[in-house]
């Protein structure tokens, strides 16, 4: 993370590390000026929730170099745990959310140990399979989950305050996103984060200098699943109905696309990727019939012309300009 800036311009380390977070906080603070109605808020809130998932997913894909084509299942599992516990069992929202995160963490751990030995396409297949299995179970166990019709969660109430308006949700999700970005940025720039990047960079080199690579792959898989569950719980309380469509293969692919489009191994890239890819379908709604063509075209185009993703590519361009 050494900067190319001359030392006089270098920020104090803590500010330098969190410069993205600071910019993001500023953007979140001023964005409401541009939001005209509840629909706008709704889109931005969903973008923020997706961004939480994608920041977590990017820890796995971008930093540790392991793919998951099943992350929507963890998002969906969190959503369903919150919906079921707060309605059927009348639990408080935060308790349900915490339970969801723990349950998903355990599920991810049990899955991760055997499958993270797999590499490349085999890992893609395994994670995809896990996602499909979880999605089929939730679709089929209709007595518990409402089946294809889905179910709703109770309103999100914390310490007697109920988040009801879109505005209140905006600030809630904004705060949750900032928390996620802060935790992730810290993690990346720690011994654990270095271990993850090392096993991506040269796995055998990492093992030989003392890193238990399996342990770190499992750890980051579990953590990224827990972030997804956290976002899923919030989503469940915000959306009118939780349906199995939120945890299918397509949704998992969308998360991966957001991470890759915004920029692998870039926390801010994940946020940018999530916002653009969430907003895009809404912008393209006018060309409804062309939406998949444009979406598919963007996916191919990004990977062919800027394989490192949007934010890293732009950052590199800017840095090159700065250098004499």
């Amino acid at each position: 993370m050494t900067s190319m800036l001359p030392s006089a311009l270098r920020l104090p380390p803590a500010l330098h590390r969190h410069r993205g977070l600071i910019i993001l906080a500023a953007l979140i603070a001023v964005l409401p000026l541009a939001l005209r109605n509840d629909y706008h808020y709704d889109v931005v809130i969903n973008a923020g929730l997706n961004a939480i998932v994608v920041v977590g997913l990017n820890l796995l894909i971008g930093y540790a170099g392991q793919i998951s084509l099943g992350h929507a299942a963890f998002f969906g599992l969190g959503a369903y745990v919150s919906a079921i516990l707060t309605t059927t069992y009348g639990w408080p929202a935060l308790g349900a959310m915490a339970t969801g995160i723990v349950v998903v963490g355990i599920v991810a751990y049990v899955i991760a140990r055997p499958i993270l030995r797999l590499k490349g396409h085999y890992l893609a297949m395994a994670t995809l399979g896990i996602g499909v299995i979880i999605s089929i179970v939730l679709n089929t166990e209709a007595q518990v989950t409402g089946g294809p019709d889905g179910m709703s969660a109770a309103p999100f109430t914390v310490l007697g305050y109920t988040f009801a308006s879109e505005q209140s949700w905006y600030w809630l999700v904004g705060g949750a996103l900032l928390l996620t970005v802060w935790l992730s940025t810290n993690l990346i720039d720690s011994p654990i984060g270095r271990a993850l990047r090392a096993l991506h960079g040269a796995e055998i080199g990492a093992r030989v200098v003392g890193i238990d690579t399996t342990r770190y792959k499992v750890l980051i898989f579990v953590i990224s699943a827990m972030f997804a569950s956290f976002a899923g719980s919030l989503f469940a309380h915000h959306t009118p109905t939780v349906t199995p469509s939120i945890l299918g293969f397509i949704k998992s692919v969308e998360f991966v696309v957001m991470a890759v489009f915004g920029g692998m191994a870039s926390v801010m890239g994940s946020v940018v990727g999530a916002f653009i890819m969430t907003l895009l379908p809404n912008v393209l709604a006018a060309f409804e019939d062309f939406e998949p063509i444009i979406l598919g075209g963007i996916m191919m185009g990004t990977m062919i012309f800027m394989p490192k993703g949007l934010v890293p590519t732009i950052a590199k361009k800017l840095r090159r300009k700065e250098a004499p």
Partner: protein, 291 residues
């Protein structure tokens, strides 16, 4: 008892034959380029849909089949030329995104050109069920199994007995060495996509009278084909065919004896178990990292 068992096996072999074709397509492309082509399922849809459209336009069935197959092969070539070749050196994740992007793109095109309706084709030789040891069999299932077997035999012959096929295998084994020996690896990539498109198209055409076709049917078929290829061991043609048949039979059995809602889940559970026990598939060789 025995009849229902035979019934399930026949159903499994029919869908398994299609999975085998798609899985074989995955393996051929994987060998030529180490790309997993998630757009493989779209070849099935394009093959089926084009035949439906041509037939509706008054083209006789045999000609419609040939034309639809050619159209699909052109799509395969275009995909290789414009989406895969420019990104040859990208890493695994990037290539996965490209081919998933391609599948979404093609799905969009199909939806635009042919609409969102579900279509079917008339069965090639009538709808009178045959009786096989108490189990019934639609004649179209025979077509599916027969044509798939024939294609698989032709593909096996192509790779083992023709110069072009051997050049493709050599590239899979060691691209650099093949290039040094004068094999045009660009040509190999294009051929692999054309060949996989052909397999997908023909599979799609023969199975459409049974399963119907819509712009969305490629997703699940693509995943099943990928599963078949992984189950057998990526890049292993025999493995892909075996994987496809196993997958088809497991699914049919689970649907029949356990629960039709869980048939896909059971298929995936079996794949996971296989991968945990054999990380490179049933027939894949164990790799060792060299340093």
């Amino acid at each position: 008892m025995i009849e229902s068992m035979i019934q399930f096996i026949l159903a499994g072999l029919t869908s398994g034959a299609i999975y085998a074709l798609v899985g074989l397509g995955f393996s051929i492309i994987y060998n030529a380029s180490h790309v997993i082509n998630f757009a493989q399922g779209e070849f099935i849809v394009i093959g089926g849909m084009s035949t439906v459209a041509l037939l509706a336009a008054g083209v006789p069935l045999p000609l419609a089949i040939v034309l639809a197959t050619l159209v699909t092969m052109l799509v395969g070539l275009a995909l290789a030329r414009f989406a895969i070749q420019p990104a040859k050196d990208a890493d695994v994740v990037a290539l996965i995104i490209i081919t998933i992007g391609a599948s979404i793109f093609l799905r969009g095109v199909v939806q635009l050109v042919f609409g969102k309706d579900i279509h079917s084709l008339p069965a090639f030789s009538g709808e009178t069920p045959l009786n096989l040891m108490g189990a019934t069999l639609m004649p179209q299932s025979l077509w599916v199994m027969g044509i798939s077997s024939a294609l698989i035999v032709v593909i096996a012959w192509f790779f083992n007995a023709t110069l072009a096929g051997k050049a493709m295998l050599a590239t899979a084994y060691n691209a650099l060495a093949a290039r040094l020996m004068g094999v045009d690896t660009k040509w190999v990539l294009l051929s692999a996509f054309a060949l996989s498109a052909l397999l997908g198209a023909v599979g799609g055409i023969v199975v459409t009278p049974i399963t119907f076709v819509s712009y969305e049917s490629g997703i699940m078929l693509g995943l099943k084909g990928f599963s078949a290829a992984v189950l057998g061991g990526l890049g292993n043609g025999v493995g892909a065919v075996a994987g496809g048949l196993i997958l088809g039979i497991v699914e049919a059995m689970s649907a029949g004896y356990l629960s039709s809602a869980y048939k896909d889940a059971i298929a995936f559970i079996i794949i996971l178990v296989v991968l945990v026990v054999r990380p490179n598939g049933l027939f894949g060789k164990k790799g060792i990292d060299r340093v």
